[in-house]
């Protein structure tokens, strides 16, 4: 029997009780269609949403199509070498004007009546144009641009609210971690190997939490750590002692920590042999020359999982993954994930990076499928929300100092979610 009878809204979805050290979230937030509609209106239609990386449209004429926040967009580099984002909708009767996932072209032609647009979105041709009255507004027959498109260090975001603050202000403390990532290269970073897309039956916020949930690591991913050990790693051997969650403002948060796995930049593991150790040492030296020892080691050894509110993840771990995810419905989401790498890394290191990536991440990895399964089971469990109504996110509350296995980073997410959903601006 499906969850037919959704209970009334609680007085508050998020209840934080500092005194008793409890933080609870009402499970109706994960199942109710009315909540989803409000999220669309108050969160996805107002926040900066990740669109893509500059390297995905490297030269003029490169384009890709992507659904972002419920819209179908074209991300294209114009003749003038400027990246632009358009709604993929013909101004005539509305057909998608571009069907390819990505490509390189000089124009977009609608199949229905052959209206044709240049890379800057301008209508450049339509059959029997003489049968039209002169346009009353300039551009009324051009492709519509997204209200706002901005980038920080090659990461392009869109915002459907023309009045939203600028991107860098929005990113707030997240800028520091984007820098830590982009600084891996002396030349540029690039998306390698295209995109991983998959979907599963769980509310999108479950993946937001999971993306930087330190607590689940050992129990959920036992088989991955078995594998790391089988590959010659040791659970102790972290090269860094840090374990810390941080509130980055505007609902963004991060956990920074040490881990036993190898990092292409620049922490070698046994499996990579002397050759790998040498290469890592060299990379670290270069980093030291560029940034000094402390920052160099932070870049080289420290892992971090960061969520940029509401749904953009940068996990800088055994590889670097960018990830975003959107709801299809309250109980289903689709995920897009990418691997980011320095354009100037060696072929062997690139190989190690992708090998690392696949062993943990993605639909065939040793970890991600277990995450998705856990989240699916949560969604199932919420069928009981009339009687078992509250999630507990209290771990670490009232502790002198917080560690990355506590749940503070999720609390940061939920406080912002609650603020935006309550309509506080």
């Amino acid at each position: 029997m499906a969850n037919i009878h959704t209970p009334q809204e609680p007085e508050s979805y998020v209840i934080e009780d500092q005194e008793h050290g409890t933080f609870r979230v009402n499970r109706r937030a994960f199942v109710a269609p009315d909540v989803l509609a409000r999220e669309q209106e108050r969160i996805f239609d107002r926040c900066w949403l990740y669109l893509g990386h500059e390297s995905e449209i490297a030269i003029p004429g490169d384009f890709l199509t992507r659904d972002v926040g419920g819209r179908e967009l074209i991300f294209v580099r114009g003749k003038d070498n400027t990246p632009r984002a358009f709604f993929n909708t013909c101004p005539h009767r509305g057909a998608l004007v571009c069907q390819e996932k990505q490509g390189q072209d000089k124009m977009f032609r609608c199949i229905y009546h052959a209206w044709t647009f240049d890379l800057q979105g301008k209508l450049i041709q339509r059959p029997e144009a003489e049968r039209y009255a002169p346009a009353t507004q300039a551009g009324m027959h051009d492709l519509v641009s997204v209200p706002q498109l901005q980038n920080y260090r090659g990461l392009y975001f869109v915002n459907y609210d023309v009045n939203a603050n600028d991107l860098v202000t929005y990113l707030a403390g997240a800028v520091e971690y984007i820098d830590l990532t982009m600084d891996h290269s002396e030349v540029a970073m690039e998306i390698v190997g295209g995109i991983q897309e998959y979907g599963f039956q769980a509310n999108w916020k479950l993946l937001a939490e999971n993306s930087f949930d330190g607590y689940h690591g050992l129990p959920t991913h036992a088989t991955y750590f078995d594998y790391v050990i089988a590959a010659g790693g040791q659970l102790g051997d972290n090269l860094t002692e840090i374990s810390e969650p941080r509130d980055l403002g505007n609902g963004h948060a991060v956990i920074e920590y040490g881990a036993p796995w190898g990092r292409p930049i620049a922490k070698a593991v046994a499996a990579w042999g002397n050759e790998g150790a040498a290469e890592c040492a060299e990379i670290r030296d270069r980093l030291e020359q560029r940034f000094g020892r402390e920052r160099a080691e932070r870049i080289a050894y420290n892992n971090f999982n960061m969520l940029i509110f509401p749904n953009f993840v940068i996990n800088n771990i055994m590889a670097i993954t960018l990830r975003t995810f959107f709801p299809q419905s309250a109980d289903k989401q689709t995920v897009k994930a990418w691997a980011l790498a320095p354009v100037d890394e060696s072929a062997t290191m690139r190989e190690r990076r992708l090998y690392n990536f696949l062993e943990f991440l993605g639909p065939g990895g040793f970890a991600t499928p277990d995450d998705c399964e856990a989240l699916r089971l949560c969604q199932q469990g919420y069928k009981n929300l009339t009687s078992a109504a509250w999630n507990d996110i209290s771990k670490g509350m009232g502790q002198a100092e917080l560690v990355s296995n506590d749940e503070e980073q999720m609390r940061v997410f939920w406080r912002e979610w609650d603020r935006q959903m309550s309509g506080v601006s």
Partner: protein, 162 residues
């Protein structure tokens, strides 16, 4: 050197492989491969020419990781497959594309059904095998499984051997 096996023997081999997978006898399944064999699953909709060095695959196992994958799937802590899903591997359109006993190519079409948690997921596509025959025994050197759909938004994962 010529090729000493017929399609019919390869079908016996592939139907046997499918049965081992349906019955979750993965250790025995692994014995169908030569040492150093590899197993790849590229992203849905890929062409046969795609390479894991330039594309982000779902699975790109060398011999070490393939053995580890089998080990993992045998554990209770491989949560997505514990309790085990119920699978059925349908194999058809088997074609021997030629080569020699030392190395020959085989392709087949597949539909693999996976049932768990109240839903049945359908994986469909084709396999490309590099195989060899040594003293009459057929073995797999390299297996690639291509999903002939646009994406895996419905399936969400490649947690089984498809």
């Amino acid at each position: 050197m010529a090729l000493s096996v017929q399609r019919s023997e390869i079908e016996d081999f592939l139907y046997g492989e499918a049965a081992l997978l349906d019955e979750w006898r993965l250790e025995e399944w692994l014995e169908l491969f030569v040492e150093g064999a590899s197993y790849w699953v590229p992203p849905a909709g890929s062409d046969d020419s795609v390479e894991p060095s330039t594309t982000l695959f779902y699975v790109a196992d060398d011999w070490f990781r393939l053995q580890q994958r089998v080990k993992r799937l045998g554990k209770k802590t491989a949560h997505v497959e514990h309790p085990k899903s119920r699978c059925r591997h349908m194999v058809s359109n088997v074609r021997v594309l030629g080569g020699s006993d030392a190395n020959f190519k085989v392709t087949s079409n597949f539909v693999t059904y996976r049932s768990k948690g109240g839903t049945t997921e359908t994986y469909l596509g084709h396999h490309l095998y590099d195989m060899c025959v040594e003293d009459g025994v057929v073995r797999i050197k390299h297996k690639r499984s291509f999903l002939d759909t646009e994406d895996i938004n419905e399936q969400g994962k490649v947690s089984i051997i498809i």
